[in-house]
Structures are given as C-alpha cells and as structure tokens.
C-alpha cells in the first residue's frame, strides 16, 4: 500500500499547488429554512443554487453575515436542496460556538448570509469493489451527506462511523440508514451505541478483517474518510496507518479568506527536502483552504 515516509517532492508540489476553482460565486443567500436539531446544532438552508449545483463532496463555502464579524467563516456543505427537481440551494450543519454560528443558529427565514464558494479540494470517491468507511465526530458529520450520496451513486458500499458526546448529538441517523448506509455509533456517555471514542469500533472492524482474511491480497480495499476534531483525525490517521489503509481527512483550521490569499490556515505536511535519505521528515506548511481541506492521512503531521 503506502509508505508513511515516502512522500515525494512531487507529492508536496501537488499538495501546495493552486487548485483551480471552476466557478466561484459570491451570493447574498436568503435563508430558506432553519431547523434546530438541539440547543446547539442547526441545519440552515441557504438559497445559493449556483454554488449548490457546482459543489463537490468535501468542498466548503465561506459565510458571512452583514451584521456579524469582519471575516467569513468556513463551512462544509451538508446537503444540496432540491425542490421539484430543481436545485434550490444548500444546507450547512452548524454548531453554535462563536458569533457567526450563533447568528446561523438564530437566523429566521428571509435573513441573508453572504456565501462564497465552492472552495477547496474535494474528497476523491472510490468505486466498487472498494468500500467506503466515513468517520464523523460531532459537527464533522457535515461533509458526509453529499459524500455518502456520491458514493452510493457509484454503487460503493458505504459505512458511517459516527461519534458524539451523547446520543442527543447524533443527527440524521434515519437519513443515512434509509439510503442504505450502514451505521456504527459511539458516544462518550454511552447513551446511544458503544461507550467509546469512534476510533475504537473503527480499529476493531479493521482488525476483524485482518484476522478473518490473513492474506492481504484477498482483503477488499477500504477507503477511510474522516471529518471531526483534530485529535480524532490524528487517531483515524494512525489507525488507518496501522492497518495500511488509505485515508482522506477533512481538516478545519482558523481560516481568513478560503482562497489561498492570507496563509493563515496552514497545516504541516511531511517534507523530505531535497535528499531522499530516510531521516526524520521535516515539516512543510501548506494552505488547508486550497491544498485541502481534504488531505491524505499519511501526508499530515500533527502539531
């Protein structure tokens, strides 16, 4: 499969080069509806049809309220909203943390938010017979509705490992199961699913495959997708590495512009420098907005 220390200079170049965005739109998007899922979480539908039509799973939009903070904030697109077959807009899954997310939580129909996108490098889908295992932590569920749909459209068998603090913070479970996505749930308080971090069942299932099928050649390919808090992403990358499975992780860093202009959302990736000596890799910062937000797990270093 892959070697943890064999990221080439070419790969670094590929990671750092500018990703062309086919169609960039900034729209003052009207709130179509705002559904509160809990006291913190909401799903807000915004009338941004041009962005919704162009968005690929894993891409994000930069959102700003005219009455809110100066800078925009990044959000993964959760769903594409269709009405009578026409694309009407997109939804964002948001957790109330700061000023902008509070405004999104409190928004009512008819309010507007400036919405810039599509931005960033999307997930790469996999085709059968490979399987897709999506790992979501909390609000990190956001990119997996569109990714799940894209995978199912390709006929790829898809599983969602979904963890949260408690069962009250697990959302859209029926949405996923009704589409035929297998759910594996874990909560920190054990109120729904296993009482564990979500990486525990992930690791167990990977080990199960290994013990059932000793010959690596005979095992089916599994692509692991993950989005959630960085400690979870690091754990997923480590588990994937242990079982020699490829992973694609969607990271979230403090972002200024989303376009590659400000260099604030950087994340360290492995860099061997000029030599090919197998020494400890040095790190190299890349902009997570244009080199990501989706990275291969083996490329990332954790600070």
């Amino acid at each position: 499969m892959f070697d943890l220390f064999a990221i080439s200079q070419d790969r670094i170049k590929e990671l750092t080069k500018y990703t062309p965005i086919s169609m960039l739109v900034d729209v003052e998007a009207r709130v179509i509806r705002n559904t509160r899922l809990s006291s913190d979480y909401n799903v807000i539908a915004l009338a941004a049809p041009d962005i919704a039509a162009a968005i690929q799973p894993g891409q994000f939009v930069m959102v700003k309220s005219g009455r809110g903070p100066l800078l925009r904030r990044p959000f993964s697109v959760f769903e594409v909203v269709r009405s009578n077959g026409r694309i009407e807009g997109l939804t964002l899954l948001s957790k109330r943390i700061g000023v902008t997310t509070t405004m999104l939580f409190d928004a009512v129909e008819g309010d507007t938010f400036s919405c810039l996108g599509p931005l960033g490098r999307p997930f790469e889908t996999v085709d059968p017979p490979a399987e897709a295992w999506m790992v979501a932590g909390g609000v990190g569920l956001a990119p997996f509705a569109t990714l799940g749909d894209a995978l199912l459209a390709r006929g790829t068998k898809t599983t969602l490992f979904y963890g949260a603090r408690s069962g009250a913070e697990l959302f859209y479970l029926d949405w996923f199961t009704s589409r035929g996505i297998r759910l594996v749930l874990a909560t920190e308080d054990g109120s729904i699913g296993e009482q564990a971090r979500i990486t525990v069942p992930l690791e167990r299932e990977l080990r199960d495959i290994e013990s059932r099928i000793p010959n690596p050649e005979s095992r089916r390919d599994v692509m692991i997708y993950a989005c959630g808090p960085e400690p979870m992403l690091e754990a997923v990358a480590n588990v994937a590495g242990t079982f020699k499975r490829p992973s694609q992780l969607s990271v979230e860093r403090v972002m200024g512009c989303g376009m590659g202009g400000c260099y604030s959302c950087v994340i360290p990736v492995r860099d061997h420098g000029a030599g090919s000596e197998r020494t400890r890799p040095t790190q190299h910062y890349v902009r997570s907005c244009i080199a990501g937000p989706v990275f291969r797990g083996e490329d990332l270093l954790w600070d």
């Binding site: 500018y18 086919s22 200024g256 202009g261 260099y263 604030s264």
Partner: protein, 340 residues
C-alpha cells in the same frame, strides 16, 4: 469609462475590463496614475500579503484590470513562517502573524511570474531581507526578471525578528536600504513604511532623500490579543499586525502627513473596504491605494471599488483621478482654528 456599461459588468462580478470598449470622449474618466516611471491604469493595487501570489485570485478577478498586484513578500530563500494560530479577528479588524511564509525569489520567478505575465498583471514585487545585502541581491535578480514592474521594499513587517522592520524603524536604516537598492536597479522603488514609529513622515523623507520613487503606507500596527480563560496569547507569535477598518483613520492621518512631507507619490493603505474609503485616502494625498484585508472578505471587491470611484468622479466633475490626489481642503478649518 462608460458607467452604464460598467454597472452591468460589475453586477456580473467577473471582469473589470470595462475601458476596452468603445466610448465617447464626453463620458471618459481617466483613472490612470503615475508612480515614478510606472504608469498604472488605475489606482487600485492588491496589497502584499493579502493576495497570495495573485494567481490564487484569477477566478474572482481579471488581474490585468488591476492597477497593480503587490505579491506576497519574499526573501531570497523559502521560508516556513510561524506555526498556527496565525490570525485572530478583533473588532473591525484582524491580527496576523504569518511570519512571511514564502517560496523564495527563485521559485517565484520560475513558477509564478510566467503565469502573472500571461495574465498581464502589473507585478509589484515585495522584497524582504534579513540583511542589506539580501535586499540588494533580490533587487539585482528581479531587475533581470521579465515581468516585474516595480519593487516594494518591505522594511515594515512587524512579525519577524531579523531584518525588515529594524531597517524601517531607523531613519539611517531606511536611507541605507533604499539607496543601496537604488544603485542596482532602474525599477521604481517603493519602500513600504511601518506605522510603528513616532513620526512616519520623517521616514517618507528619508526614503525620498535616498532616491525612492514612492512610499507606501501603512503596514500593520503591532498589536496583541489574549485569551483570558487560558491567559495565553491568541497568536503563536504572541504579537501580530493589526489591519482592517479599525486602523483606517490612523492610516489616513499618516498618509496626509507624508503627503505634506514629500514630493514623491504616496501609496495609501489601511482598512480600505469601499470606494469611499479609497477616495478618502486619495483626497488625503494617496496617488494610489492598496487593498488588503477587504479582499479576504470579498474577493469580488475590485470592480465595486472602481465603479464607486468612477461614479464619484462623474458626480464631482473630476476628469482625472490624478487631479483628486491630495485635494483635501483644510483652509476653512484652519481659519476657524485661528479665529477661535
């Protein structure tokens, strides 16, 4: 510039190639300005450090329609910059301590400049140096590069320890860097001044005396923000540079002071987020303006700024934007001041 037509183009938000179309002389506004030997087609420049290497923004703006593109400041060699967190938002502004992450001059010339040439961008290269020799070496290299229109000398970045701002905070240092670079290049030289000094006008004067073709100001204000829950600084570098609308009135005052102190053009910047803001700088004495933080918020801002300036010129019967530069009228206020 045809306003009716420009309005249509502006609403499309794609391009500002508006003066390419046929027009009658009666509805023409001349937006061009001169910075030394360099003629800019309009006074709007993308500010260094806020526009990547320019190529990142081609989906939002046609670079050939900007007055200039001041690319991210570069040293001779590649730099990694500071660890995150690199920015934090503050009231009406933001703090940054990026630490001048960059690809170095050689990779820029190899990887970015050909693309910028193809896009017909007017490239203003922002030079950073740890030593006087590094500024000189960079100026030499860039004088031979095809597609660099001017050199902006970064002697004002507040976020790095070595070089840079140590030159910009000393009158002798400023004079020495500018005159040393002047000796090795015929490109227009624009020292970018720091506001973190007592009297910024004296630095504009030192730059002029050393042979600068213009000065640009202001770079960011040294500032900090602390998380009171953890008692930790919000930036990894502890301190950073403040930009955005929060600093605009101070920047306008500094441009006004510099304009009165020197004859060379002053390029103004600091929190410009609308045509009105840009016009305020121009009236205070800025021949051209740079826009930075606002581009983060709205990458489609450029045609809106230009349309607003054009509209103002027509309302006030200003045929040439150059005629508006430094036209602040202080006479009445001075009389009041004296008589009171």
């Amino acid at each position: 510039m045809l306003v009716q037509f420009s309005a249509a183009r502006i609403s499309s938000g794609i391009s500002l190639g508006i003066w390419d179309v046929g027009f009658g002389a009666w509805d023409l506004t001349d937006l061009s300005v001169e910075i030394g030997s360099l003629r800019l087609q309009n006074p709007l420049i993308a500010a260094s450090g806020c526009f990547g290497y320019g190529v990142e923004y081609t989906d939002a703006v046609d670079l050939s329609t900007l007055g200039g593109v001041a690319v991210k400041g570069l040293f001779l060699k590649e730099r990694e910059g500071h660890p995150p967190e690199r920015i934090v938002e503050t009231p009406s502004g933001m703090l940054n301590a990026i630490g001048l992450q960059g690809i170095g001059v050689h990779r820029f010339i190899r990887e970015k400049l050909p693309e910028l040439r193809r896009l017909r961008a007017t490239v203003i290269f922002n030079i950073c140096g740890s030593t006087l020799d590094e500024y000189v070496e960079l100026a030499r290299i860039l004088s031979d590069a095809d597609g660099v229109a001017a050199l902006e000398l970064n002697i004002s970045c507040p976020n790095i320890k070595e070089g840079g701002i140590t030159f910009g905070c000393s009158l002798h240092g400023t004079f020495d860097v500018v005159s040393a670079v002047k000796k090795v290049t015929s490109l227009p030289i624009i020292p970018k001044l720091t506001p973190n000094v007592t009297d910024v006008a004296s630095f504009a004067r030192a730059s002029e005396d050393a042979g600068a073709d213009a000065v640009s100001l202001v770079n960011t204000f040294l500032a900090m923000a602390i998380d009171i829950e953890t008692r930790r600084p919000k930036l990894s570098n502890i301190v950073g540079g403040l930009s955005g609308p929060a600093i605009r009135p101070i920047a306008v005052r500094m441009v006004y002071e510099c304009r009165r102190a020197v004859k060379i053009p002053v390029i103004g910047m600091g929190g410009i987020a609308s045509a009105r803001d840009a016009l305020e700088f121009i009236i205070a004495g800025a021949t051209a303006v740079q826009v930075g933080t606002a581009n983060f918020v709205d990458p489609f801002i450029w045609p809106k700024l230009l349309g607003g300036i054009d509209d103002y010129m027509r309302r006030h019967n200003v045929a040439r934007i150059a005629d508006l530069v430094g036209t602040i009228d202080t006479t009445a206020r001075e009389k009041q001041w004296i008589s009171s």
